[in-house]
């Protein structure tokens, strides 16, 4: 029995994978976001990134003709918690006083709010787990879904991964990576969007998950290189292409680390930063650019020291617009 991953439904505020592959972003891609949602009214207070995640998941299930059942688990991966609402809540508490901060901002700031909206909108009642805190959070979601499918706990795992970018994350990352350029920080481009995919047993036409793992051996470059080396050593022989997914703002460090271990390819080299979503965007872009049947893997380097690896035995299949 092989656990498969796919198909994928990708939505972003800059267009689909074909748009990104062609280097022609479409900033109007989700102008009709609300009208495409299954229950727009119940999501009226949700953040746009959450809505994009619900859209990706609902369109995936519709395209696959799958009904939600008690045997479907939900696995959400996002690097940051919902900072937009956290920052609104904190700002209001400082500027207008502690009692003036809206509880709505707080409720929407809870890290599992995407899973909450997915559960409420799609009627998911079995289990939902949200993975956070690292660039490999989406890979952790795939690992969890695979474990539950393989153990027979669920028949299908609905994996939803978000690329979340806010003014807070932009400012925070720039403060960390460009501490001496605070007056004139370099511009940072972010890609906001979501991908939904299914983990199942031997689903016809979908790529098999040949390896998925996350490791951490410390924060220093040599420790991260060791983690990458350990993961890559467990790659099956068929994974000929190793795709690089690392933070744009510390790519030099990542390249240096990867250079010590194994050469990588840079699918969609100019894709904007999208954190936990990035490894999936790279896999999908690689599938468009190299549609052959051979295996491929994406290696993901978290800026804090974690390393993740997701290997498929073929290209990731995409549900298109």
């Amino acid at each position: 029995m092989t656990a498969t991953l796919g198909p994928f439904r990708f939505v972003s505020f800059e267009g689909g994978i074909a748009d990104l592959a062609a280097g022609r972003p479409r900033p109007d891609a989700l102008n009709d976001l609300d009208s495409r949602l299954p229950q727009p009214n119940s999501l009226r207070r949700a953040w746009d990134d959450t809505k994009a995640a619900v859209l990706a998941a609902s369109e995936l299930l519709k395209a696959e003709g799958l009904a939600v059942s008690e045997r479907m688990g939900l696995y959400v991966g996002q690097q940051q918690i919902a900072l937009e609402y956290c920052s609104k809540f904190i700002q209001a508490s400082y500027r207008e006083g502690p009692r003036m901060a809206s509880p709505m901002y707080f409720a929407e700031s809870v890290a599992n709010n995407v899973a909450t909206h997915l559960s409420l909108t799609l009627g998911l009642r079995s289990l939902a787990q949200t993975f956070i805190g690292t660039r490999a959070a989406g890979i952790q979601a795939v690992i969890a879904a695979r474990e539950d499918v393989e153990s027979g706990l669920v028949d299908a795992g609905l994996v939803v991964v978000l690329g979340v970018a806010t003014t807070v994350t932009r400012d925070a990352y720039q403060a960390v990576f460009h501490p001496h350029r605070r007056r004139h920080p370099p511009g940072a481009r972010f890609l906001r969007g979501a991908v939904a995919a299914l983990v199942r047993r031997d689903a016809a036409g979908q790529a098999g998950i040949s390896f998925a793992g996350v490791e951490c051996r410390g924060a220093r470059p040599e420790a991260q290189a060791e983690a990458v080396r350990s993961l890559v050593s467990r790659l099956p022989d068929g994974a000929a292409r190793l795709i690089d997914s690392s933070l744009v703002m510390c790519r030099e460090r990542s390249r240096e680390i990867l250079h010590r271990v194994r050469p990588t390819v840079a699918a969609g080299a100019d894709v904007a930063e999208c954190y936990a979503l990035d490894p999936f965007v790279r896999l999908l872009l690689d599938g468009v650019q190299h549609p052959g049947a051979s295996g491929r893997a994406v290696v993901c380097l978290g800026e804090e020291g974690t390393a993740g690896l997701l290997a498929l035995d073929g290209p990731a299949r995409l549900v298109s617009d």
Partner: protein
């Protein structure tokens, strides 16, 4: 290849909260019903509706950590990371797992709702007040769980296979449940699981704005209950297969028999008032463990002390266990003592269940004066008891429910 279900045992505990450090200090408070609630000193609470919480003793925490690590190594660690580090080191030591001997990465399923939010909040407050020019980026080093994991790995000299779960207030049990299932299915032999979270200004104000914090004290299941207080905590457990524990000659503290998980799909912040979601999770845990409802000897309830939660949970317990067993089984919510510790809650409460099973006592229900007729359960008034089987319930925002079922370890030999 994943094989047949294996038995999973707890061989290490590391717990800290406002009540103290380690199993012994907690046991004493659980027996006597001593609350850790105090006036909050970590941040300015002027203008807040409620200003009490259960902070851990940071001075003592620092002293305990300095017994093992240098001041330089600990210098930049915030309170979240320090709590996590201490609890993890204590659990590994308790299980006699030597970090330096490990070469393969150790599975570590950590639960948190806030990661290192205390530090992120400090940075953001500076940023808002003084502009970015004065915000110290060093504050951000540990604000993401990934950074905290890297610190753990570095200071413990332990390669980790990390997973960070965040399922609102059901986070702690979700983390333990995930590792339990992984070991049970044969995908891992031994690992760490648990949760941690810290009392921060953001979280205090957030629950305050929802009207969930009590202006007086936390009295779960009482007719006049008015909410909870927030507490710092970290609870870490070493879980392993029975074969692994026997092979290592490890002391077994308890066995985990089952885990259930469900979603209410009812409301973003309110539980299903009929308790159907938590009832499903309880039934799943019992079914997985092969334990009839009548054999449950203790329930550590989520019991936040809010009107909606306690009534829904009581209904769920009665629904899952049946009227007779549900009204008979001793129930208590230890949140009356440690506060609501968010991502740590389920893990800390699992430590309490393990202690209750291993040492033969029932954690008392503190603060209860007039039981709410809507919660017709048998609340623990006297710690005397020798439970053999315990349920640990957690309910979180988004209708996330998780339940762990554990049993006292009785060595057949």
């Amino acid at each position: 290849m994943i094989g047949l279900a294996r038995r999973v045992v707890v061989t290490g505990l590391g717990c800290l909260s406002g009540l103290g450090f380690g199993p012994d200090e907690h046991e004493s408070a659980l027996r006597r019903g001593r609350s850790a609630a105090r006036a909050i000193t970590r941040f300015d609470t002027s203008g807040f509706r409620t200003a009490q919480g259960a902070q851990c003793d940071e001075v003592r925490l620092a002293a305990l950590l300095e017994e093992r690590w240098s001041a330089r190594e600990l210098r930049r660690l915030d309170v979240d990371t320090r709590m996590l580090l201490w609890a993890t080191a204590a659990a590994l030591e308790d299980a006699r797992v030597s970090p330096s001997s490990a070469t393969d990465p150790l599975p570590a399923v950590l639960g948190t709702t806030l990661e290192g939010f205390w530090q992120a909040e400090q940075w953001y407050a500076q940023f808002l007040r003084r502009t970015n020019l004065h915000a110290r980026p060093s504050r951000l080093r540990h604000c993401m769980a990934g950074g905290q994991i890297a610190t753990l790995s570095e200071l413990l000299k332990l390669p980790l296979e990390p997973m960070v779960v965040s399922n609102a207030c059901a986070t702690g049990v979700s983390a333990i449940g995930r590792l339990f299932r992984r070991i049970r299915s044969g995908a891992a032999d031994l690992g760490l699981a648990g949760g941690y979270d810290t009392l921060t200004r953001f979280i205090q104000l957030g629950f305050d704005s929802l009207g969930a914090l009590s202006p007086k004290t936390c009295t779960p299941f009482d007719r006049n209950r008015s909410g909870f207080f927030i507490g710092d905590a970290a609870g870490m457990l070493v879980l392993e297969s029975l074969e692994s524990a026997r092979r290592r000659g490890a002391r077994i503290r308890a066995e985990i028999l089952g885990y259930g998980e469900s979603l209410d799909a009812h409301h973003p912040t309110h539980p299903d008032p009929e308790g159907k979601g938590i009832a499903r999770a309880i039934r799943q845990a019992l079914e997985m463990g092969g334990v009839p409802a009548a054999e449950v000897d203790y329930v550590n309830a989520h019991g936040t002390g809010t009107p909606a939660n306690d009534a829904a949970e009581a209904k769920g317990i009665l629904l899952a266990l049946g009227d007779e067993a549900g009204r008979r089984v001793p129930v208590s919510s230890t949140k009356a003592l440690v506060g609501h510790t968010l991502g740590a809650a389920g893990a800390l409460e699992q430590c309490f269940c393990v202690l209750a099973l291993e040492r033969g006592f029932l954690p008392v229900q503190a603060g209860l004066e007039t039981p709410d007729p809507a919660c017709p359960l048998n609340f623990v008034r006297d710690p005397a008891g020798r439970p053999r089987t315990a349920l640990n319930n957690s309910l979180g925002f988004g209708g996330a429910n998780g339940v762990l079922l554990s049993r006292r370890w009785e060595d057949p030999s």
